[in-house]
């Protein structure tokens, strides 16, 4: 019999595991590459969701490494809310061009202009992304859709599979998920169904930032501290702009801020920050007592199950 008292001597207590141990970043990278290659091997028309945010930028970087020296065998898809940060759109287009990739854009503004979607009273367009996204998946017949969702982001996402089957309405049913055993991902699906694939499932926000630092990946400037005109709404600093802020009762002020997440301007909050370098950002996140979404996402605060409800409808 071995109790902890005797086992602990045998392990040496260093936590270090010899010459063949991979660092946690190498292990995560290797796993994500494996997932990209499984999809390339098993699906007909995969697409990578690419918003110009850090998670999708890391996804693209991993895909480039997975298939080097050949080109990435997928196209990209961006759901444009019409309220995106101009710096991010510029980054998106520059990156797509640099790698010779094809970009599909599903536009929320088009749906509003056509009268198919209605602007919400609170001005938030994040929940409106679901319809353009799912219709684009159907019309382009994408059978695998990579998303940058991480299970550490939110407790409904903690239940998400790496390969997540969606029905013809793109719905997620957490009670009917396939068990996921070893690294044997099951991508079987009927015509009209598709699989959402999450290569960054096991990454945390800090992992993403450390990987960006290690790989010297360029990011849009809004991730680093800069001066910006913002105003306070629901406890968050929002960027003033044509999307509809501020209201008459809200006051604009110039602050030194940066963004932890990048999304629709109407619901993505900035944090006060002096972090102008990757090392400073990493130090700031390591010391932060707020989660990424808790600090910066208005739409997740709508109810206890906001994310779960949106995911069920087809959102990522």
């Amino acid at each position: 019999m071995t109790t902890a008292a005797t086992v602990s001597e045998a392990t040496g207590g260093s936590g270090d595991a010899g010459p063949y141990a991979l660092s946690h970043l190498d292990a995560l990278e290797s796993e994500a590459v494996h997932i990209f290659r499984e999809v390339a091997g098993e699906f007909e028309r995969p697409v990578v969701l690419f918003s110009g945010g850090k998670d999708s930028i890391v996804m693209l970087h991993l895909a480039l490494k997975a298939f080097a020296p050949a080109a990435v065998p997928f196209s990209l898809l961006h759901v444009d809310t019409g309220h995106n940060f101009p710096e991010v759109l510029e980054y998106r287009d520059r990156t797509v061009a640099a790698h010779g990739l094809r970009l599909h854009v599903a536009s929320v503004q088009d749906y509003i202009d056509r009268g198919v979607l209605k602007e919400r009273p609170d001005g938030t367009r994040n929940p409106l992304q679901t319809v353009p996204l799912t219709e684009k998946i159907q019309s382009e017949r994408f059978d695998a859709v990579f998303g940058g969702g991480r299970r550490d982001e939110e407790k409904a996402r903690a239940k998400e599979r790496v390969f997540s089957l969606r029905d013809e309405f793109s719905q997620w049913d957490p009670r009917r998920q396939r068990p996921e055993l070893w690294q044997l991902y099951n991508g079987r699906h009927a015509p009209g169904e598709h699989v959402r694939v999450f290569p960054l499932s096991n990454w945390t926000e800090l992992d993403v930032w450390q990987y960006i630092a290690r790989e010297h990946i360029e990011l849009p400037g809004i991730y680093f501290a800069h001066e910006r005109e913002v105003f306070r709404r629901a406890g968050m600093w929002l960027t003033a702009g044509e999307w509809g802020g501020p209201k008459a009762s809200e006051t604009v002020e110039k602050r030194r801020i940066r963004y932890r997440t990048v999304g629709d301007m109407s619901c993505t909050g900035a944090v006060d920050s002096d972090a102008t370098t990757l090392d400073a950002v990493i130090a700031e996140i390591a010391a932060s007592r707020l989660t990424e979404r808790g600090a910066t996402r208005a739409d997740d605060k709508m109810s206890e199950a906001a994310m779960e409800d949106r995911k069920r409808e087809g959102y990522f």
Partner: protein
Amino acid sequence: MTSATEPAEPLSVEQLSATTLLRFATAGSVDDGKSTLVGRLLHDSKSVLTDQLEAVERVSADRGQDTPDLALLTDGLRAEREQGITIDVAYRYFATARRRFILADTPGHVQYTRNMVTGASTADLAVVLVDARNGVIEQTRRHAAVAALLRVPHVVLAVNKMDLVDYRESVFAAIAEEFTAYASELGVPEITAIPISALAGDNVVEPSANMDWYGGRTVLEHLETVPVSHDLAHCHARLPVQYVIRPQTAEHPDYRGYAGQIAAGTFRVGESVTVLPSGRTSKVAGIDLLGTPVDIAWTPQSVTLLLADDIDVSRGDLLVPSKDAPPTTQDVEATVCHVADQPLTVGHRVLLKHGTRTVKAIVKDIPSRLTLDDLSLHPHPGRLAANDIGRVKIRTAEPLPLDSYADSRRTGAFILIDPSDGTTLTAGMVGESFAAPQPVKDEGDDDGWDF
């Protein structure tokens, strides 16, 4: 020694990146305090952030509870919060200065076996929780058996609720001895017993002041220090080919690389390799580690192998050292855990996914079903229902290079898929599973079964 609870000194990117990753799974019955243990690990390792804790405090207060219910940290779905149960495996992430952790939080409630199989399939360590007042019960033996079946390298027995037995050493020692004897017989290679109180926080993250008779590590210290690497020198090298990389560009007109994640062992440039199931041979001309040429690569690195000869290799093939090739066979004998609601029956036509290869297969026989309570074998049950563990014989349409699961958790494992709707039916482990299989029961013992 650095304690995880001290205020973290900011580490450099290099220090942070060098930490290793431990994947572990928790197993426990309802009400033995598993959610509290998980909540305590997350909370006391300072992995719960203010906004998450505030949400838990708010919901707990709304329900009229005096103290925050840490179980709410882990029950993420609407139905789970409504019913106060855990429906499905969830994955949690936390970190200390020494290590990153991926925790497969498996519910002990319904459908426990398949959930624990799911969580344990990728785990380096399993924590089995026992209520100190109840000792080793059927459910504990079930958890030990699943950990043994899945070949989880390390098992921790956490004897919980020590506060309710006056922190008595004799209670702990008796449970630890009984569990260790049982699990050792199943072939669990390493067992560590720790007396804890998840509710009071004894020996979870902080050493207990109430149990000075215990000289071992806390649960978190053990998780931080248990070794995760395996002795690769004795592993059979295996590379399931996922994808053939052929740029066909002016810069790389002749590049033809076989991409995959090394499932076991090491590959070296210059080594003779065999392609299975075809049996063709060549030499490793080069190894690309995500764009960087290397001389040697090992599991679980994702790599691209270049071969000296232009031979036929495609997705689904297995590259192995020529001196260490597994046999190929169309007759698979395995222990399986059935994970789907529809049963698995003799004559069932299925798809079998092994590594990167998916082939047609037929269930030829189900020789036995395991009774987890006493590890006896029920002969010829005819079918396996959800959560059943049993032996099966499967005939495949094409030969497969199979390792024993005891030798390789990656290349000794497979899943069965329903070809009609894509359902994942069954988790399979090739070869003998238990160190000491029990003899098959007499037919006369079977009166209690429905079929």
